[in-house]
């Protein structure tokens, strides 16, 4: 969920803009470096971002009967890393503000920070910790759950910081109980969906994942090893 236009006071708009600006700037430098070796990075990142946008327009049914949409930031973080995800999330959020009227321009910085920086960071940490220990599908599922959930925790903290009230701790607990607790089933739903998507990509086009260097060759034996099927020589 995005923080709505006009919700944050000007000071916090500026602070979140600066904080996410640093990460996005670093991401752009990183892309520029990649671009020198591989000029195909630009169109590929563009389609990846478009994919994130389209994924976020899917309606995801959840256990409680409510509907949510996947953020897609966990998958992107696993595939491209935090800094590049932050750049993609910036453009996606800009389009969401201008094409779907979700989120806003003044709150763009805050939304980038929760969806493009903190969420992917949590996802990448989980992914790095679990990599090699469990199968990549389970690692991706947990990374997606972590990044989705972290996004909402960050949103709750941002809302508290904007309007702390008399007792910031009490306010934080209220916002956390609204966002973080109701988000748990939705995060699990996103994790499941990401796992199914991941499994399907691994089955159909493992070469994409191998090229991005996110899975090991040993995980897709049907693709990398020659099957002994016999037949005429």
């Amino acid at each position: 969920m995005h923080i709505m236009e006009g919700y944050l006071p000007p000071m916090w708009c500026a602070i979140w803009y600066i904080l996410s600006g640093i990460v996005v700037g670093y991401g752009i430098i990183k892309i520029n470096k990649l671009l020198k070796e591989m000029p195909e990075v630009k169109p590929l990142l563009a389609v990846a971002g478009a994919y994130m946008f389209v994924l976020s327009s899917l309606k995801l049914p959840s256990v409680t009967g409510s509907c949510s949409h996947p953020c897609g930031n966990g998958l992107s973080a696993v595939l491209f890393g935090v800094a590049i995800t932050a750049v993609l999330a910036t453009i996606v959020l800009l389009f969401q503000a201008l094409l779907l009227a979700h989120g806003g321009l003044t709150t763009l910085g805050a939304n980038i920070f929760s969806m493009g920086v903190m969420g992917p960071l949590a996802g990448v940490i989980v992914w790095k910790l679990l990599r090699g220990k469990v199968s990549s599908t389970i690692a991706v599922m947990l990374a997606a759950i972590a990044s989705d959930w972290m996004t909402y925790v960050t949103t709750a903290i941002q809302l508290t910081l904007a309007f702390p009230g008399d007792d910031p701790v009490k306010t934080l607990i209220t916002f956390l109980s609204i966002f973080a607790v109701t988000q748990i089933p939705l995060a699990i739903a996103e994790g499941l969906l990401t796992a199914i998507i991941w499994d399907k990509i691994k089955e159909l086009r493992p070469d994409l994942l191998l090229k991005l260097g996110v899975i090991d060759e040993s995980e897709v034996p049907h693709y990398t090893q020659v099957m002994e099927t016999g037949g005429a020589e």
Binding site: P43, I178, L193
Partner: protein, 262 residues
């Protein structure tokens, strides 16, 4: 699809041929005044100006405009109620006893909630004005003129193109899955959504690689070149907007102490 509707209107409205730089300057200055204002009056005036401009001058159909405006505002109403409950201070306006809990609503919280609500209304009206009257393609030229990194603008431009292609593909796949009872219960829904997501990713990636090959054929070396430039608007219009801005800023200082509930 919402994205399609807004994009179509942005290309076909009565304010389409006004200089885009002027529209961006106007909308962003109003947005900033809205966020900085300390009372409910100025944001409400700005919201009124923006709604009148979008609906009556740009002729955006009401049946499209109202859902876009009201959906976020529903969230805003909930915020006002929550803020009234969460933030204590000032006079106690109302207290409800439910079993052993007493829920009280205080004037400080209600005032804060109304201020935030009015800012949201003003802000959303400003963004909608920009979104519904200015096509994204023209915004890219402005972003480039603002000296944003060309990597960022190029990726954004290509992404804008692919969003609509992928959306179309998504709708086609969803229809195909629907006709085969792909969404009949929760389990099949997840399976279908997962397949949809994976196929879309693979198709998107293939499209990206194809696009690179096509671009290479035309001499692409990592940088996109644009020839068209957007000219600067006439000074008199800029002055007019600045005068309106100054008037609104002055008004927001004069009404700074205004409270809805004292």
């Amino acid at each position: 699809m919402n994205a399609n509707i807004i994009d179509r209107i942005a290309h076909n409205n009565r304010l389409r041929h006004i200089n885009p730089k002027l529209k961006v300057f106007f909308a962003l200055s109003m947005l900033l005044i809205t966020v900085f204002s300390k009372s409910v009056i100025v944001p409400l005036i700005i919201a009124l100006i923006m709604i009148v401009l979008t609906v009556f001058v740009a002729k955006v159909p009401l049946r499209i405009y109202l859902p876009l405006l009201l959906a976020p505002l529903g969230f805003g109403v909930i915020t006002v109620i929550l803020m009234g409950i969460i933030y204590s201070g000032g006079k106690e306006l109302l207290s409800i006893k439910i079993f052993n809990f007493t829920i009280s609503i205080y004037s400080y919280g209600v005032n804060l909630g109304l201020l935030v609500f009015s800012r949201m209304l003003g802000g959303i009206a400003c963004t909608l004005f920009l979104a519904l009257t200015t096509p994204m393609t023209e915004l890219f030229y402005i972003l480039r003129d603002l000296k944003l990194p060309s990597t960022f603008v190029d990726i954004a431009m290509m992404m804008y193109r692919y969003i609509f292609l992928l959306l179309e593909e998504m709708i086609r796949i969803t229809n195909a899955q629907n006709t085969r009872l792909g969404y009949k219960d929760l389990k099949t829904t997840y399976k279908s959504l997962g397949t949809l997501g994976a196929i879309l990713f693979i198709r998107a990636w293939d499209r990206g690689e194809k696009a690179f090959i096509t671009m290479s054929c035309r001499g692409y070396n990592g940088d996109l070149k644009l020839i068209k430039k957007i000219e600067s608007p006439a000074i008199k219009y800029i002055l007019l907007i600045v005068i309106v801005d100054i008037l609104l800023i002055a008004l927001s200082y004069l009404t700074g102490d205004f409270k809805v509930i004292t």
